[in-house]
Amino acid sequence: MYQYDKYDQMMVDQRVAQFRDQTRRYLAGELTEDQFRPLRLANGLYIQIHAPMLRIAVPYGLMSSKQVRKVADIARRYDKGFVHFTTRTNFQLNWPKLEDVPDILAELATVQMHAIQTSGNDIRNTTTDQFAGINAEEIEDPRPWAEIIRQWSTFHPEFAYLPRKFKIAIIGSENDRAATKLHDIGLHLVKNHDGEIGFEVLVGGGLGRTPIIGEQIRPFLEKEDLLSYLEAILRVYNRLGRRDNKFKARIKITVREHGINHIRELVEAEWVQIRDQLRLDQKEIDRVKAFFTEPDYDSNAAADTSFEAKLEEDKAFARWLKQNTFEHKVPGYKAVYVSLKKHGQAPGDITSEQLEIVADLADKFSFGEIRSTHTQNLVLADVKQADLYELWQQLQAEGLATPNINTLTDIICCPGLDYCGLANATSIPLSKQIAERFDDLDHLYDLGDIKIKFSGCMNGCAHQSVGHIGILGVDKKGEEWYQFTLGGSSEADASIGERLGKAIPKEDVVDTVSHLIDAYVDLRREDESFLATVRRVGVDPFKERVYADN
């Protein structure tokens, strides 16, 4: 993975000093709340219901075991001993003290971590596929490009006060595990007719209260032109994006109001002017790529026979393997999900003790690297098949082997009203109840791939509008109600879910999920997935089932 040089380290250290002084001035009354707010947000710090919330960056979801141990240590000493992973592959501390935050950031800097631009109206952490670099279908590893974007977007002086937040995601294969079509900019590494690799560029995707699927702005961009093209898009957006209404300020609205063709003309005209100046050198591309070379794989890994034997003798192991691992491009290796979706636990939460064990397991079995995923799980990406049984046993002992990846209980969920100052409604307790209702694994496997996404308010941090089943908490005269949508997807076939009907009271949410699932089981044809069934029959048959009692 990427290692800081003296420049990277210096900038992160100087950022800590800058924020330490800003915090001091705020506490001394020299900065008003309004003046301090954008400064703290640019360092990931929200002021929440119970305490500040600090969102810490995990650039493109990649961490070393050393970093994970530091995170565990920080969570224990400055917080309540656990962290919450987010859909942008970052994680959050929910109870830090404001005056401790500079010290937390200083500690993070010692392991090349930071909270830079994890909130605020700036360019956020660039995300990618959790299987980058190990995926057999991949055209090219997107991580070096994500790192190049990270550096370009960090402290970009022109784009620190954008109309609204700005999110970029990049993938290297057709299978979209990073929701790229729902980002302000989505980048796909593609091959053109001449066999050259470059980027397809999408713009104007987004979630929140107006979910929109991104549109193609350029079918093929030479790799060397990546930064100049991004800069051109950002400059057009910075000048044109609306600043009169924050709900209309995202680039998705700019694109919709002006039309993709006009935006493309503006961007291309801008790009022509800066293309030569910002063209990436091969030297720099090679420098960054050198940090993402393959680890020292065992070429005999596939020769192991113990693995097959264990599969035969231990059904639970076989079940976990089928559900929680991913095919690796190197024979004899698998990528392993560490499930943060144990039934009855808050989705995406992990304790300090668990983090330390995951770090140890990564050192022992996966070259010391840990990845965080868009779905709020972790991944150990390079595990030899001979080690899988032992790894599974240890994960299981820690409650990190729930074999539910990509099932109905692998719920994406925001912190909700229990933690978040923005939320209208509770999300985590209801997610837990849904998971408890569907506790029978055989039933879960029979239902197949069902993605529930559960947000506690319109901001849509859990991406409910692209859930196969989306649940959105709304406030109605001080009461918590829930709006369901069906048929959304964040993947290559991205779509926005359709509203099921009128909002549902809190006490009926879990039953509603049950009704939807019962309807699906009745409606599906053979092994038709939930999403395919909804797309075939539409929302109405589900609606009838859910609202039948009323």
Binding site: Q18, N121, F155
Partner: protein, 159 residues
């Protein structure tokens, strides 16, 4: 009034003229509207001439006139309005403006570093009592990853 110019605290010697105010000799700035209405008179102005622009004004339209101005004032109505960062950058790099570019309005210490990297070289702080403290902001970071007005080569070409 004192301002920061080229990282020093100096006495301001410009007068920002309202659209209704009578023209006076000496260094004055005018709005874009006044420039467009009275540019023939203003061409013969005795003293320095400056132009005030906001993010709502069409930057490209004044490019042919830039040579007439020795100061461009960029207005930040609130410090979170970042449009004029792009204006400053374009004025310097694309339109070759060599004169003074000044930030006016809700200008605070914590934005000075980014503003200066975009080519703004003078600052009327919202709170003129904090000029001395604000000077340190120019050194918040000693490097930038990007190609900036102050460091035209991106860091990757200097590594």
């Amino acid at each position: 009034m004192q301002i920061i110019k080229d990282r020093e605290i100096v006495e301001d010697n410009w007068l920002h003229l309202d659209d209704e105010a009578q023209l006076v000799a000496g260094n004055i700035t005018v709005s874009l509207a006044r420039w467009q209405e009275q540019h023939e008179t203003l061409e013969h102005h005795e003293g320095g001439l400056g132009l005030r622009l906001s993010g709502d004004d069409p930057l490209e339209e004044i490019v042919p006139d830039l040579a007439r101005f020795s100061l461009i004032v960029l207005l930040f109505p609130v410090f979170t309005d970042g449009r004029c960062y792009s204006y400053a950058k374009l004025l310097r790099e694309r339109y070759g403006f060599k004169g003074e570019i000044r930030a006016q309005g809700d200008v605070l210490q914590d934005q000075l570093f980014y503003m200066s990297q975009c080519g703004i070289n003078s600052f009327e702080l919202a709170n003129p009592n904090r000029l001395t403290n604000a000077l340190s902001a120019f050194d918040d970071f000693s490097e930038s990853y990007q190609a900036t007005v102050l460091r035209p080569e991106p860091l990757y070409r200097r590594r």
